[in-house]
Amino acid sequence: MTGVAEPAISAGGEPQVTVERKVRPMPDRYRNALGKYSIGRSADCVGCGDCAKLCPTGVHVKPDGYTFALRPRDHLCLGPECAKTEHYCIAKCTKKALSMARNPTVDAMGDPRWTSDLILSTWHMAETGHAPKAGLEHRTGESGGGFDRIGFIFPESPAKVDPAKIDTGLDLNRRGDGRPQVHIDLPVYGGGMSFGSVSIHTIVAKARTAAAWNIFTCTGEGGYHDRLKPYDDHVITQVATGLFGVREDTIQRVRIVEFKYAQGAKPGLGGHLLGDKNTPAVARMREAVAGNALFSPFPFHSVYSVEDHKKHLDWIKEVNPRTLVSVKVSTPTDVDMVAVGSYYAGAHIIHLDGSYGGTGAAPDIAKKNIAMPLEYAIAKVHKFLVAEGIRDSVTLIVSGGARTAWDVMKAIALGADGVVIGTAEMVALGCVRCACCESGRGCPRGIASTDPELMMLMSLDWATQRLINLMSAWREQMVEILVKLGIPSTRELRGRSDVLYYAKEAQS
C-alpha cells in the first residue's frame, strides 16, 4: 500500500472519500439542450461543412463521413451579437441556408427573479465550468429590486492584484472558544435539502461537490442518510423542529451542526413534506408513516426565550465537544436582535435565510409576503453587529436569494461573510423553476423527487460534475470582481458597501 494516502477518518469513524476538484465538460442530460436562440438549417444546405469550420463555439458539427452537419446545437450560439464577428454563420453561409430566431420556449421559462437568461447561463456554467462569453445576462435578474438594483463601483485604476493569489477562503470559527477551526475554500456552501424533498442523487452530488471544493452541504431536516457518511467532514447536520433523524450519532459525526429555527421561504411555518412525497424510504428515515403529509411544528416548542435557545446550543456542544454550531433564522423586523441573541447564546455561525429563498413546498402567501428579503437583512444585521462590537466574533452566513456569483459578492460587500445557495444548485442540475416539486411524484425532471423512476433521470456522476463546474465558474467570477476592485480576498470585501451603488430605477 505504499504511495497510497490513507483516507481521512471522520469523527463518525467513517473513511472519507476524496473527490477531484476538476472541471470536465458535462453537457445537458436531455437530448435537446435549450438555447436562447434557435438556428434553422433549410433544405438549401448542400453539406459543405463551412459552418462547422467557422463556428468557434461548436454550434455546427459535421463529423467525418457525414454528408450533412448534425442538427445545430442551438444552446451554444452567441446570438445576434455574433454578427459583429468574423464567424457569423448566418451571413457566411454561401447558400443562405441558415437562419436565427429567438427560441419562443425560452420566453415560457423563468420569471423575474430567475430569468431565462440566468437559468441558461447557469446551465452553461454547469456544462463548461466558465461563465458565458456573450448572449446571456449571467449576473442579475429582472426582479427590479435588491441584488438586481445593486451594482459594483469599479475603480478606474484599481490596486494591482494577482488573480492567482486571490484568496476566497473563509474561517468559520471566530469565537476563539477552543473549538476547532473550520476553513472552507469558497465563501459559499450548499443549503439544507432533506431526503424526501430531493432525491438521494441530488443529496450525494451536493456532498461530493462539497468534498471537492472543501465546503459544506447540509442534511436538511429529513435525517442523515447512510450515503452521506463518506462525506461526514463536509456535511452539516440540521436540527429542525421536526427533529427527523436527529440522534447522538448524527450530531457527533459532523464538524458543524445547524439549528434551523425558520426557513426563509416559509418563515413562521414549519417544514412541509406533502404526503405524495413521503415514500416508504423517506418515511423510514424520518421514522414516520409513509403517505402521511409531514408538517413540522413551528417554532421549537422547547424554545421560548434566548435562555432556552442557549440551552439548545449547549446541548449540542455537550453532545459533540468539537462541533461548531450554526443558527439558521429567517428575517423578521427584529432580525438584528435575533442575531445578537444567537451570538450571546453561543452560536459560531448566524445564518440568515431571506424570504425569497427556495423551498420544496411552501404556501405561496408565505413565499411572497412573510419576512423581509435577504438584501435588507444583511445590511441591517451587519451594521448592528458592528455597532455591538461583536462583528468579528461571529460568522454571518446568508441565503435565500443569491442566484449568481455576482449576488454572492454583493452580499459579502453588504456585510455577509459567506453565502449558502440552494436554487442555483438545482438549476445547475436542470431545474427550470416550474415550481412542481411539492406534490405528486415530485420534480418532473428528477431532481426534487424520490420517485424511483424519476430520480433515475439523473446520474450521480453527472450531477456531481455539474455542481463542481458551477462552483468553478463562480470562483472565476469572484476572482474577476476582486481584481477589478483591487481587493485581494473575499474576506476583505466583507462590509465594503462603499464599492456598491443602488440604482434609483429598476434596471429591468
Binding site: Y30, R31, N32, A33, L34, T105, D107, A108, M109, R113, W114, S143, G145, G146, I150, G151, Y261, A262, P267, G268, H272, L274, P297, F298, Y304, S305, H309, V329, P332, T333, D334, V338, G358, T359, G360, A361, P363, D364, I365, A366, K367, K368, N369, I370, A371, M372, A377, K380, G400, R433, C434, A435, C436, C437, S439, G440, P444, L454, Y501, Y502
Partner: protein, 465 residues
C-alpha cells in the same frame, strides 16, 4: 370556549373554460413516429388527455391547459419538434392590477378551498406598488407557540362591527346614558360586497347571500335587487340604501341586523329614519375612498355613525383624487387620524376595492381596517377575467363567467371555497406573526415591513446611481 370556526369547503370544479399559462407547439409533420416518444412519458398525462380530447371532442377541454411548463418533452423529443409558448390568451387576461396569475390562483382556490402551495421560491418581482410594497412580519424565537393552520392553539379571526363606546355612562339615578352597544360578531374579517358589475343577473346576488350565510358573515346587496330573501339568510343580509330613500326597503330594514347607506347630503338623515324603524340596526356609511374621507368619518362619527365602509376602485386606488393614493396609504392616514382623535376604538372601518388576494386582507387590516369587503374576486371565482374594468365592457358579448349554467349552489360553493382558502392563509400569516387574534392585527404596523422604511434603513448609505 366557542366552537372553532370552520368553513366547509367542497370540491367544485369550475364550469367555465379555463385558460392555461402554457401552450405546446408541435411540428407534427416532421414526426418520425419513433418508439422513444416523450408524450406518453409526461408525468402529468397532458398529451394523453389531449389525445382523448381529439378522439372525443365532448371531453372537457380543461386538460389542454394543464401543462406545467417543465419542458421535459421539449428537451426530450427525438427530433426536437416540440416547443412550449406562453399562451397569449392567458397573458391578455385582466389588467395591470388583476394579473393573470391572480385569476389562476383564484380559480384554483375556488375549486377546492385549499391554500396554494408550490415548490421553488418566490417567482415574482422584488416589490411593487400598493400592497406589494409591504411584507408581513414574523416572530422568530421569543414568542408563544403558534402552528398556523396545523396548530393546536386557536387563532381567532373574529371581528366586531358596530358601536364600541370606550366606557358606559350612567345618570345619577343609575340609568345608562345613550343606547346599549350593539355588535355583530363575524368569525372572519370580511364581508361580501356588491361586485362592480354583475354576471348572470340576480343569480349572483342569491349566490352571494347563500355564501354569506355559509361563511357566517354578511352580504351587501341593493335593497331593491334582492326580493324575497329567505328568513334564514336575513341575519346575513345587509341592504344597501341610496339616495332613493328608505321607501320600499322599510320592511326589510326592520328585519336585518345591519344596513349600508351610500353617502350623500341626506345620508345621515336616512340613517336616523332607519334607526327609528329598527333601534338595533347597525347603520354603516358607505363612502368612496377619497382625500376627504378622514374628515368625513370624523364628522359623521361625532354625529353618531360608528361604522364606515370605504370603497376604493377596482385597483385599490382612491376615487376621484387628482393624485390617487393606494388604500394602504389612505387607510394609514385615516387610521392615524382616528387614533389621534381618540376615536379609533369606537368605530369600525370596512374597506373594499382591490382586495384580490388573501394577503391583501391581512395587509389592509395592518394598515388600519377592521375588516375588508370582497367584490371583484367573487366574480373571478366564477370565471370572470376582469375584462370589464375601467376600460369598459370589452368582452360583454362573450363573458367567460356567464358561459354555462350558473346555479346558485355552484356559485355559492365556489365563493365559500375561495374564502375558506383565504381564511386559512390569514391564519398562516397570523401564526407566523405570533398573533393570536386578528383584532390585534388592526393598525399593527409594527408587524409589517414597509418598503420605503426598510430601503432607507438598509440601503440609505449606498451610493446612488
Amino acid at each position: 370556549m366557542p366552537d372553532k370556526y370552520h368553513i366547509k369547503a367542497a370540491a367544485t370544479p369550475g364550469r367555465f373554460r379555463r385558460v392555461g399559462k402554457f401552450g405546446s407547439v408541435d411540428w407534427r409533420e416532421d414526426c418520425s413516429r419513433c418508439t422513444n416518444c416523450v408524450k406518453p412519458r409526461c408525468i402529468y398525462d397532458t398529451y394523453k388527455k389531449e389525445s382523448a380530447y381529439n378522439r372525443d371532442p365532448s371531453t372537457s377541454v380543461v386538460p389542454l391547459y394543464e401543462c406545467r411548463g417543465c419542458l421535459s418533452c421539449v428537451q426530450g423529443c427525438t427530433k426536437g419538434l416540440l416547443g412550449i409558448a406562453l399562451n397569449p390568451e392567458y397573458l391578455s387576461m385582466g389588467d395591470e392590477y388583476w394579473k393573470p396569475d391572480i385569476m389562476a390562483t383564484t380559480w384554483n382556490q375556488a375549486d377546492s378551498g385549499r391554500i396554494p402551495v408550490s415548490g421553488a421560491g418566490y417567482r415574482g418581482r422584488f416589490h411593487g406598488p400598493g400592497f406589494d410594497s409591504i411584507w408581513t412580519d414574523m416572530s422568530e424565537i421569543v414568542r408563544p407557540t403558534r402552528d398556523g393552520i396545523h396548530g393546536r392553539e386557536y387563532i381567532s379571526t373574529s371581528v366586531d362591527i358596530g358601536s364600541k363606546p370606550m366606557r358606559m355612562s350612567f345618570t345619577a339615578d343609575g340609568k345608562m346614558v345613550g343606547e346599549p352597544s350593539v355588535l355583530i360578531d363575524l368569525p372572519i374579517p370580511l364581508i361580501l360586497d356588491v361586485p362592480p358589475w354583475t354576471i348572470a343577473g340576480h343569480a349572483l346576488s342569491k349566490a352571494r347571500l347563500a355564501a354569506g350565510k355559509a361563511l357566517k358573515t354578511l352580504t351587501v346587496a341593493p335593497a331593491a335587487e334582492v326580493a324575497g330573501v329567505p328568513a334564514d339568510q336575513l341575519p346575513h343580509f345587509v341592504p344597501l340604501v341610496g339616495s332613493e330613500g328608505l321607501g320600499a326597503a322599510e320592511p326589510i330594514l326592520r328585519q336585518v341586523r345591519m344596513a349600508e347607506f351610500i353617502d350623500w347630503s341626506k345620508a345621515l338623515d336616512l340613517i336616523g329614519q332607519a334607526k327609528a324603524l329598527n333601534s338595533g340596526l347597525i347603520c354603516a356609511l358607505r363612502l368612496p375612498m377619497q382625500a376627504y374621507a378622514a374628515d368625513r368619518i370624523l364628522a359623521a362619527s361625532k354625529a353618531g355613525v360608528k361604522v364606515f365602509h370605504l370603497c376604493a376602485d377596482l385597483h385599490g386606488q382612491e376615487i376621484g383624487s387628482e393624485k390617487p393614493r393606494h388604500i394602504k396609504d389612505a387607510l394609514r392616514e385615516i387610521h392615524t387620524r382616528l387614533v389621534k382623535e381618540g376615536m379609533r376604538d369606537e368605530v369600525t372601518l370596512i374597506v373594499s376595492g382591490g382586495i384580490a388576494l388573501a394577503e391583501h386582507m391581512a395587509k389592509a387590516i395592518i394598515c388600519g381596517a377592521d375588516l375588508v369587503a370582497v367584490d371583484t374576486t367573487l366574480l373571478v371565482a366564477l370565471g370572470c377575467r376582469v375584462c370589464r374594468g375601467a376600460t369598459g365592457k370589452t368582452h360583454e358579448d362573450h363573458c367567460a363567467a356567464e358561459a354555462g349554467d350558473l346555479d346558485t349552489a355552484y356559485a355559492a360553493q365556489r365563493m365559500v371555497n375561495l374564502m375558506s382558502a383565504w381564511h386559512s392563509q390569514l391564519i398562516e400569516v397570523l401564526g407566523a406573526m405570533g398573533i393570536r387574534e386578528v383584532r390585534r392585527l388592526r393598525g399593527e404596523v409594527g408587524r409589517a415591513i414597509f418598503m420605503e422604511d426598510i430601503e432607507r434603513e438598509a440601503f440609505g448609505d449606498l451610493a446612488s446611481k
